[in-house]
Protein backbone atom coordinates (compact mmCIF):
# COMPACT_ATOMS: atom_id res chain seq x y z
CA UNK A 1 0.00 0.00 0.00
CA UNK A 2 2.83 2.35 0.93
CA UNK A 3 4.43 1.77 -2.47
CA UNK A 4 1.15 2.37 -4.25
CA UNK A 5 0.69 5.68 -2.47
CA UNK A 6 4.24 6.72 -3.35
CA UNK A 7 3.73 5.89 -7.02
CA UNK A 8 0.43 7.75 -7.03
CA UNK A 9 2.02 10.83 -5.47
CA UNK A 10 4.76 10.89 -8.09
CA UNK A 11 2.21 10.36 -10.86
CA UNK A 12 0.06 13.22 -9.62
CA UNK A 13 3.07 15.52 -9.64
CA UNK A 14 4.08 14.44 -13.14
CA UNK A 15 0.59 15.03 -14.48
CA UNK A 16 0.84 18.64 -13.51
CA UNK A 17 4.38 18.99 -14.83
CA UNK A 18 3.92 17.51 -18.27
CA UNK A 19 0.52 19.02 -18.96
CA UNK A 20 1.86 22.46 -19.69
CA UNK A 21 3.76 25.38 -18.25
CA UNK A 22 4.37 24.80 -14.60
CA UNK A 23 5.90 26.33 -11.53
CA UNK A 24 7.61 24.45 -8.77
CA UNK A 25 7.73 25.80 -5.27
CA UNK A 26 8.66 24.91 -1.75
CA UNK A 27 6.86 25.66 1.44
CA UNK A 28 6.35 24.91 5.09
CA UNK A 29 3.28 24.74 7.25
CA UNK A 30 2.13 24.24 10.82
CA UNK A 31 -1.16 23.82 12.57
CA UNK A 32 -3.36 21.80 14.86
CA UNK A 33 -5.30 18.59 14.39
CA UNK A 34 -8.37 18.05 16.55
CA UNK A 35 -9.43 14.40 16.91
CA UNK A 36 -12.94 13.63 15.73
CA UNK A 37 -14.70 11.02 17.89
CA UNK A 38 -11.47 9.61 19.28
CA UNK A 39 -11.68 8.95 23.01
CA UNK A 40 -8.04 7.98 23.37
CA UNK A 41 -5.91 10.75 21.89
CA UNK A 42 -5.65 14.49 22.33
CA UNK A 43 -5.13 17.44 20.06
CA UNK A 44 -2.08 17.27 17.84
CA UNK A 45 0.32 19.94 16.72
CA UNK A 46 1.58 19.40 13.21
CA UNK A 47 4.21 20.78 10.92
CA UNK A 48 5.60 19.81 7.58
CA UNK A 49 6.88 20.76 4.17
CA UNK A 50 5.15 20.99 0.81
CA UNK A 51 6.38 21.29 -2.76
CA UNK A 52 3.59 22.79 -4.88
CA UNK A 53 3.77 21.99 -8.59
CA UNK A 54 1.37 24.33 -10.35
CA UNK A 55 -0.29 23.86 -13.67
CA UNK A 56 -1.34 27.44 -14.11
CA UNK A 57 -4.06 28.48 -13.67
CA UNK A 58 -6.14 25.51 -12.69
CA UNK A 59 -4.45 22.64 -10.92
CA UNK A 60 -1.69 22.45 -8.35
CA UNK A 61 -0.36 19.16 -7.13
CA UNK A 62 1.54 19.28 -3.90
CA UNK A 63 3.66 16.45 -2.50
CA UNK A 64 4.00 16.80 1.26
CA UNK A 65 5.68 15.42 4.33
CA UNK A 66 4.13 15.98 7.74
CA UNK A 67 4.76 15.19 11.36
CA UNK A 68 2.24 15.52 14.15
CA UNK A 69 2.60 15.09 17.91
CA UNK A 70 -0.61 14.16 19.66
CA UNK A 71 -1.15 15.40 23.18
CA UNK A 72 -2.23 13.12 26.01
CA UNK A 73 -5.86 12.36 26.61
CA UNK A 74 -7.37 12.27 30.10
CA UNK A 75 -10.48 10.28 30.87
CA UNK A 76 -12.40 10.39 34.12
CA UNK A 77 -13.71 7.01 35.20
CA UNK A 78 -15.88 7.48 38.24
CA UNK A 79 -13.51 9.86 39.98
CA UNK A 80 -10.33 8.17 38.78
CA UNK A 81 -8.48 10.00 36.03
CA UNK A 82 -6.57 7.88 33.56
CA UNK A 83 -4.24 9.23 30.90
CA UNK A 84 -3.22 7.88 27.52
CA UNK A 85 -0.35 9.28 25.47
CA UNK A 86 -1.41 10.90 22.24
CA UNK A 87 -0.85 9.41 18.82
CA UNK A 88 2.11 10.72 16.85
CA UNK A 89 1.75 10.75 13.09
CA UNK A 90 4.37 10.97 10.37
CA UNK A 91 3.51 10.68 6.73
CA UNK A 92 3.89 11.68 3.14
CA UNK A 93 1.55 12.03 0.23
CA UNK A 94 0.24 14.45 -2.35
CA UNK A 95 -2.57 16.95 -2.42
CA UNK A 96 -4.37 18.13 -5.53
CA UNK A 97 -5.80 21.65 -5.45
CA UNK A 98 -8.20 23.40 -7.78
CA UNK A 99 -6.50 26.79 -7.84
CA UNK A 100 -8.05 29.87 -9.42
CA UNK A 101 -5.03 32.15 -9.38
CA UNK A 102 -4.87 35.80 -8.37
CA UNK A 103 -3.54 37.52 -5.27
CA UNK A 104 -6.34 36.04 -3.16
CA UNK A 105 -7.85 32.72 -4.04
CA UNK A 106 -10.06 30.09 -2.50
CA UNK A 107 -9.37 26.53 -3.49
CA UNK A 108 -10.78 23.11 -2.68
CA UNK A 109 -8.32 20.30 -2.33
CA UNK A 110 -8.08 16.56 -1.77
CA UNK A 111 -5.14 14.36 -0.98
CA UNK A 112 -3.89 10.85 -0.43
CA UNK A 113 -0.94 9.71 1.61
CA UNK A 114 0.70 7.05 3.72
CA UNK A 115 0.72 7.91 7.42
CA UNK A 116 2.37 6.06 10.28
CA UNK A 117 0.51 6.22 13.61
CA UNK A 118 2.64 5.54 16.64
CA UNK A 119 2.50 5.45 20.44
CA UNK A 120 3.15 2.87 23.18
CA UNK A 121 1.40 -0.30 22.10
CA UNK A 122 0.47 0.94 18.62
CA UNK A 123 2.51 1.29 15.48
CA UNK A 124 0.73 0.99 12.17
CA UNK A 125 0.82 2.50 8.70
CA UNK A 126 -2.45 3.57 7.17
CA UNK A 127 -3.61 5.08 3.92
CA UNK A 128 -4.72 8.62 4.66
CA UNK A 129 -7.24 10.71 2.77
CA UNK A 130 -7.83 14.40 3.18
CA UNK A 131 -10.09 17.05 1.78
CA UNK A 132 -10.84 20.62 2.60
CA UNK A 133 -10.70 24.20 1.49
CA UNK A 134 -7.91 26.73 1.54
CA UNK A 135 -7.25 30.41 1.08
CA UNK A 136 -4.14 31.56 -0.76
CA UNK A 137 -2.94 35.10 -0.25
CA UNK A 138 -0.07 36.33 -2.37
CA UNK A 139 0.85 39.89 -1.31
CA UNK A 140 4.13 39.80 -3.18
CA UNK A 141 5.23 37.82 -6.24
CA UNK A 142 6.45 34.28 -5.59
CA UNK A 143 5.26 34.20 -1.97
CA UNK A 144 1.88 32.78 -1.00
CA UNK A 145 0.35 32.48 2.46
CA UNK A 146 -1.93 29.47 2.78
CA UNK A 147 -4.65 29.03 5.38
CA UNK A 148 -6.42 25.71 5.20
CA UNK A 149 -9.14 23.77 6.94
CA UNK A 150 -9.40 20.08 6.26
CA UNK A 151 -10.59 16.68 7.38
CA UNK A 152 -7.94 13.96 7.54
CA UNK A 153 -8.93 10.30 7.74
CA UNK A 154 -6.38 7.54 8.35
CA UNK A 155 -8.16 4.41 7.20
CA UNK A 156 -7.82 0.87 8.53
CA UNK A 157 -10.17 -1.69 7.05
CA UNK A 158 -13.69 -0.39 7.66
CA UNK A 159 -12.77 2.22 10.24
CA UNK A 160 -10.73 5.38 10.34
CA UNK A 161 -9.17 7.80 12.74
CA UNK A 162 -10.12 11.33 11.80
CA UNK A 163 -8.86 14.78 12.58
CA UNK A 164 -10.17 18.23 11.75
CA UNK A 165 -7.05 20.21 10.97
CA UNK A 166 -6.30 23.88 10.54
CA UNK A 167 -2.94 24.89 9.11
CA UNK A 168 -1.08 28.00 8.13
CA UNK A 169 1.74 27.80 5.62
CA UNK A 170 3.98 29.82 3.40
CA UNK A 171 5.20 28.79 -0.04
CA UNK A 172 7.82 30.24 -2.36
CA UNK A 173 7.82 29.76 -6.11
CA UNK A 174 11.27 28.45 -7.05
CA UNK A 175 11.19 27.54 -10.72
CA UNK A 176 9.10 28.06 -13.81
CA UNK A 177 8.91 25.73 -16.82
CA UNK A 178 9.52 26.73 -19.52
CA UNK A 179 11.67 29.58 -18.17
CA UNK A 180 10.48 33.05 -19.12
CA UNK A 181 13.10 35.14 -21.00
Amino acid sequence: MKRTVLVLCVALSLIATVAGAATVGIGAFGGVGIPIIQDDTGRGTMFGVRAPVSLIPLVTVEPYFLSSNGSSKDQDLGGVTITRSGIDVTGFGATAMLTMGGPVSFYPFAGIGSHKLKRDGIEETRTAYSFGIGIGISPVPKFTLHIRGEIDAAVKDQTSRKWAAATVGLSYSLLKFPPTP
Partner: protein, 180 residues
Protein backbone atom coordinates in the same frame (compact mmCIF):
# COMPACT_ATOMS: atom_id res chain seq x y z
CA UNK B 1 -7.05 20.87 -19.69
CA UNK B 2 -10.80 20.98 -19.05
CA UNK B 3 -10.71 17.44 -17.81
CA UNK B 4 -8.36 18.55 -15.06
CA UNK B 5 -11.16 20.47 -13.37
CA UNK B 6 -12.69 17.11 -12.45
CA UNK B 7 -9.47 15.97 -10.87
CA UNK B 8 -9.97 17.37 -7.35
CA UNK B 9 -13.67 16.46 -7.11
CA UNK B 10 -12.88 12.95 -8.36
CA UNK B 11 -10.10 12.52 -5.84
CA UNK B 12 -12.43 13.76 -3.09
CA UNK B 13 -15.11 11.31 -4.17
CA UNK B 14 -12.57 8.48 -4.24
CA UNK B 15 -11.48 9.44 -0.74
CA UNK B 16 -15.06 9.40 0.52
CA UNK B 17 -15.74 6.04 -1.09
CA UNK B 18 -12.52 4.50 0.17
CA UNK B 19 -13.17 5.59 3.73
CA UNK B 20 -16.66 4.16 3.66
CA UNK B 21 -19.02 5.65 6.19
CA UNK B 22 -16.13 7.44 7.82
CA UNK B 23 -18.28 10.30 9.08
CA UNK B 24 -20.11 7.92 11.38
CA UNK B 25 -17.11 5.97 12.62
CA UNK B 26 -15.08 6.59 15.71
CA UNK B 27 -13.13 5.26 18.66
CA UNK B 28 -15.16 4.93 21.87
CA UNK B 29 -13.83 4.20 25.34
CA UNK B 30 -15.56 1.55 27.40
CA UNK B 31 -14.54 0.32 30.81
CA UNK B 32 -15.54 -2.48 33.13
CA UNK B 33 -14.81 -2.41 36.85
CA UNK B 34 -12.97 -5.55 37.90
CA UNK B 35 -13.07 -4.59 41.56
CA UNK B 36 -10.45 -5.98 43.90
CA UNK B 37 -8.65 -9.17 42.95
CA UNK B 38 -6.95 -11.16 45.68
CA UNK B 39 -4.71 -14.08 44.76
CA UNK B 40 -3.52 -16.13 47.71
CA UNK B 41 -1.55 -19.34 48.25
CA UNK B 42 -0.32 -19.53 44.65
CA UNK B 43 -3.85 -19.87 43.39
CA UNK B 44 -5.96 -17.78 41.00
CA UNK B 45 -8.72 -15.23 41.32
CA UNK B 46 -11.22 -14.65 38.57
CA UNK B 47 -13.69 -11.92 37.69
CA UNK B 48 -16.69 -12.48 35.47
CA UNK B 49 -17.04 -9.80 32.81
CA UNK B 50 -20.34 -8.95 31.16
CA UNK B 51 -19.78 -6.05 28.80
CA UNK B 52 -23.50 -5.93 28.02
CA UNK B 53 -23.85 -4.02 31.28
CA UNK B 54 -21.68 -1.24 29.79
CA UNK B 55 -23.86 1.33 28.05
CA UNK B 56 -21.46 2.34 25.26
CA UNK B 57 -20.71 -1.30 24.48
CA UNK B 58 -24.38 -2.20 24.13
CA UNK B 59 -24.96 0.91 22.03
CA UNK B 60 -22.17 0.20 19.53
CA UNK B 61 -21.88 -3.59 19.68
CA UNK B 62 -23.51 -4.24 16.32
CA UNK B 63 -21.12 -1.87 14.53
CA UNK B 64 -17.96 -2.87 16.39
CA UNK B 65 -15.11 -3.54 13.94
CA UNK B 66 -11.89 -3.66 15.93
CA UNK B 67 -10.10 -2.89 19.16
CA UNK B 68 -8.18 0.35 18.85
CA UNK B 69 -6.64 0.14 22.31
CA UNK B 70 -6.90 -1.96 25.44
CA UNK B 71 -5.53 -1.99 28.97
CA UNK B 72 -5.94 -3.48 32.44
CA UNK B 73 -5.53 -0.87 35.14
CA UNK B 74 -5.28 -1.00 38.90
CA UNK B 75 -2.88 -0.97 41.79
CA UNK B 76 -0.86 -4.18 41.85
CA UNK B 77 0.40 -5.22 45.28
CA UNK B 78 2.86 -8.08 45.69
CA UNK B 79 2.03 -9.40 49.16
CA UNK B 80 4.34 -12.41 48.80
CA UNK B 81 8.06 -12.89 49.40
CA UNK B 82 9.08 -13.56 45.80
CA UNK B 83 9.29 -11.35 42.72
CA UNK B 84 6.39 -12.18 40.43
CA UNK B 85 5.20 -11.93 36.81
CA UNK B 86 1.49 -11.25 36.91
CA UNK B 87 -0.59 -12.51 34.01
CA UNK B 88 -4.25 -12.22 33.13
CA UNK B 89 -5.87 -15.11 31.34
CA UNK B 90 -9.14 -15.16 29.46
CA UNK B 91 -11.56 -18.07 29.78
CA UNK B 92 -14.82 -18.36 27.87
CA UNK B 93 -17.13 -18.78 30.85
CA UNK B 94 -19.68 -16.47 32.43
CA UNK B 95 -18.63 -16.87 36.04
CA UNK B 96 -15.32 -17.96 37.57
CA UNK B 97 -15.18 -21.67 38.28
CA UNK B 98 -11.49 -22.54 38.05
CA UNK B 99 -9.25 -22.64 41.09
CA UNK B 100 -5.74 -23.54 39.93
CA UNK B 101 -3.30 -21.97 37.47
CA UNK B 102 -3.06 -25.28 35.61
CA UNK B 103 -6.80 -25.40 35.03
CA UNK B 104 -6.90 -21.79 33.82
CA UNK B 105 -3.99 -22.29 31.42
CA UNK B 106 -5.54 -25.49 30.11
CA UNK B 107 -8.89 -23.87 29.46
CA UNK B 108 -7.99 -20.33 28.43
CA UNK B 109 -5.57 -18.03 26.66
CA UNK B 110 -3.19 -15.46 28.10
CA UNK B 111 -4.64 -12.05 27.42
CA UNK B 112 -2.21 -9.77 29.24
CA UNK B 113 1.21 -9.78 30.82
CA UNK B 114 3.63 -10.68 32.20
CA UNK B 115 3.83 -7.67 34.49
CA UNK B 116 6.89 -7.80 36.74
CA UNK B 117 6.49 -6.81 40.38
CA UNK B 118 9.14 -7.12 43.07
CA UNK B 119 8.38 -8.75 46.40
CA UNK B 120 6.69 -6.48 48.88
CA UNK B 121 6.10 -3.65 46.43
CA UNK B 122 3.07 -2.09 44.82
CA UNK B 123 2.57 -0.23 41.57
CA UNK B 124 -0.38 1.57 40.05
CA UNK B 125 -0.06 0.70 36.40
CA UNK B 126 -0.70 3.41 33.83
CA UNK B 127 -2.65 3.10 30.61
CA UNK B 128 0.57 3.41 28.59
CA UNK B 129 2.36 0.74 30.62
CA UNK B 130 -0.56 -1.64 30.43
CA UNK B 131 -1.37 -1.26 26.73
CA UNK B 132 1.96 -2.71 25.62
CA UNK B 133 1.39 -5.87 27.70
CA UNK B 134 -1.44 -7.18 25.56
CA UNK B 135 0.41 -8.34 22.46
CA UNK B 136 -1.07 -11.56 21.12
CA UNK B 137 -3.79 -11.48 23.78
CA UNK B 138 -5.61 -8.78 21.87
CA UNK B 139 -7.00 -11.18 19.27
CA UNK B 140 -8.83 -13.58 21.61
CA UNK B 141 -10.15 -10.66 23.63
CA UNK B 142 -11.41 -9.01 20.45
CA UNK B 143 -13.18 -12.24 19.55
CA UNK B 144 -14.94 -12.22 22.91
CA UNK B 145 -15.85 -8.55 22.65
CA UNK B 146 -17.23 -9.05 19.14
CA UNK B 147 -19.04 -12.15 20.40
CA UNK B 148 -21.40 -12.16 23.36
CA UNK B 149 -19.17 -9.92 25.49
CA UNK B 150 -19.30 -12.39 28.37
CA UNK B 151 -16.09 -13.99 29.67
CA UNK B 152 -13.94 -14.40 32.75
CA UNK B 153 -10.52 -12.92 33.46
CA UNK B 154 -8.18 -14.74 35.83
CA UNK B 155 -5.11 -13.31 37.50
CA UNK B 156 -2.23 -15.67 38.21
CA UNK B 157 1.51 -16.19 38.17
CA UNK B 158 3.02 -19.20 36.47
CA UNK B 159 5.79 -20.20 38.86
CA UNK B 160 6.91 -20.16 42.46
CA UNK B 161 5.01 -19.35 45.62
CA UNK B 162 3.10 -16.11 45.26
CA UNK B 163 0.38 -13.89 46.60
CA UNK B 164 -0.78 -10.58 45.19
CA UNK B 165 -3.68 -8.21 44.88
CA UNK B 166 -5.06 -5.96 42.19
CA UNK B 167 -6.96 -3.11 43.79
CA UNK B 168 -9.59 -1.08 41.97
CA UNK B 169 -8.99 -3.05 38.78
CA UNK B 170 -10.44 -1.88 35.50
CA UNK B 171 -10.63 -3.32 32.01
CA UNK B 172 -10.28 -0.50 29.49
CA UNK B 173 -11.06 -0.91 25.82
CA UNK B 174 -11.24 1.58 22.99
CA UNK B 175 -13.53 0.08 20.39
CA UNK B 176 -13.38 0.92 16.70
CA UNK B 177 -16.91 1.48 15.50
CA UNK B 178 -18.20 2.11 11.99
CA UNK B 179 -21.60 1.87 10.40
CA UNK B 180 -21.90 -1.27 8.28
Amino acid sequence: MKNMRWFVPSLTLAALMATGCFLISGQFLIHFDLGNVNVVASGVDGVGVDLNTVKDYSKHKDNLKDLADIAILGTFVNTGVNDIDVEVWLVDEATPSLTTPGAVMAGGVRAWGPFKLKAGTSHTITWDESAVLFGAGKAPLLAQIKGDGIFTLYALTQSGAYAFQINNGKLIAVIDVAAS
